[in-house]
């Protein structure tokens, strides 16, 4: 795919597309809201609106998936949370900050204890669990998911 010139019309829902090589006909594409940029696919001869937020979100998701896999491979046999978290891949996930939270919460039901350390680091908070539930990863994950819902990270 290659980017092409875009001239916005006075109406934000429309965009007037002119080709840089001027060898093709002008196209008018409409979209609401107006995308951040348009991308023209040379093979299919179609124009698609791209939002920066979509692109950013996809990038974070891919990075999260790659780093998670790397981290799990490196730390599979480590038992303590602090030992598991002492990994550059895990540090990078924490470094994603709040962008990583929806992805972490999406995985939390299945992977439970993998993410408690990162959640505490990113959110700078901790959830309360009853004394009798200490160490019960399912109860701790439930408490975090409740926190995630209240905070708008879990739909």
């Amino acid at each position: 795919m290659s980017a092409i010139d875009v001239t916005s019309s006075t109406r934000l829902a429309d965009a007037r597309i002119t080709f840089a090589d001027s060898g093709r006909q002008e196209q008018v594409v409409t979209a609401s809201p107006l995308p951040d940029r348009w991308v023209y696919d040379l093979q299919t001869n179609t124009v698609t609106g791209v939002f920066n937020a979509d692109e950013s979100s996809a990038g974070v998701e891919q990075a999260f998936a790659e780093l998670s896999e790397q981290w799990r491979s490196e730390t599979a046999y480590m038992s303590l949370a602090s030992e598991q978290a002492n990994s550059f891949a895990y540090h990078q996930i924490i470094g994603m900050g709040k962008d990583a939270l929806p992805l972490i919460f999406r995985e939390l039901r299945d992977t439970t204890s993998d993410w408690f350390w990162a959640l505490r680091a990113i959110t700078r908070t901790n959830v309360n669990v009853k004394a009798e539930d200490k160490g019960n990863v399912h109860k701790i994950a439930e408490a975090w998911l409740e926190w995630g819902k209240r905070s708008g990270y879990v739909r």
């Binding site: 303590l80 204890s113 160490g135």
Partner: protein
Amino acid sequence: MSASDPLLIHFPKLRDTGYDETSKATRDYNCLAWAAGETHRRWDPNEPNDYWPAVRAQTIPAFIAAYATRRYTLCDDGGLEEGYEKIAIYAIAKKPVHAARQLSDGKWTSKLGRDIDIKHPTVEGLKSAVYGEVEVYMKRAIIP
């Protein structure tokens, strides 16, 4: 057990002794809980919401104190003693990172991180860059 087994890459001494897989992988408990005979929760001094029955510190004295709450006392070695069960605490540079429990036949059982439980013939089998080596042995009388 095959040459490409990732366990043997991390614990190369298991190549000599072999091991048996005794459970599927789970995150419900960890090695420290498994050594104490528990499978319903994790023991971890560094994770505030995990269970830990002593002062929260990743030190040998704190680990000794934790297992002392389960009647374990220090002992000299990991040899099989009739009427007793033993645990071995592994450490890297005096920092405890793993624990194994002796079985009635003298072999040992370990939960390996997020992965499986195994039965391994010797404590040396897990001596590695991951777990270091055994720093402390503890034992308790078996209550009939």
